[in-house]
């Protein structure tokens, strides 16, 4: 994969909260990536959003700053670092909208060979987990580092 990334990232000591600045047609926008423990042991939810003036995270905003691929590549790089630190954690993620989930599916499908070398990739479909395949319509995704 040859995408640009935002290379300066702020992080919390516990490595669960990450901030970086998206620079695009609407100016500089502070983005936040958060990994939160879910009710299922060992599963962490991945959320991406904008940080608003009150320092609250808006994870349902559509920013349209013209740097979508760079933001997604940065999130992918953060996930890579996160799962290197916590290789036994499952990460669950989905889009805010069907279109966004479809975008994630396309991105995963496009780079499935490379991603599969690093991660187990599963799809949440009809209340079951099935191995992710290209073009599989799904509600959410679960990934975990492959342990070599």
């Amino acid at each position: 994969m040859n995408y640009e990334v935002y290379s300066k990232i702020e992080v919390s000591d516990d490595f669960n909260i990450f901030d970086f600045i998206s620079t695009g047609k609407n100016g500089d926008i502070l983005k936040r990536v958060v990994f939160s423990k879910t009710e299922e042991v060992g599963v962490y939810n991945l959320a991406l959003g904008d940080v608003e003036e009150d320092n609250e995270m808006n994870d349902h905003v559509i920013t349209d700053n013209g740097d979508r691929n760079k933001v997604l590549a940065t999130v992918a790089a953060i996930v890579e670092a996160y799962t290197k630190r916590f290789p036994f954690r499952w990460i669950i993620f989905r889009g805010n909208t069907e279109e966004r989930t479809r975008l994630y599916r396309m991105a995963l499908g496009l780079h499935l060979d490379e991603l599969s070398s690093l991660y187990e990739i599963w799809a949440y479909k009809d209340e079951q987990l099935v191995p992710f395949t290209k073009n599989l319509k799904t509600t959410a995704f679960l990934i975990k580092r492959k342990i070599s």
Partner: protein, 53 residues
């Protein structure tokens, strides 16, 4: 002196610098992105198959 670590992304072939932020440290332990988390929990509760081993 801020604490930094570098990570070379295998996938992107790029290096990223992580710098520990005291502002973000203040958020540790708080539930962020609550709506997204609630949605994830709802999906996981409905899951009929166990997590793969």
């Amino acid at each position: 002196m801020k604490k930094t670590t570098n990570h070379k992304s295998e996938l992107m072939g790029k290096e990223i610098t992580f710098t520990v932020s005291e502002e973000l440290n203040k958020l540790q332990g708080k539930v962020l992105a609550q709506k997204k988390l609630a949605e994830a929990n709802k999906l996981l509760r409905k899951l009929k198959t166990p997590l793969p081993k």
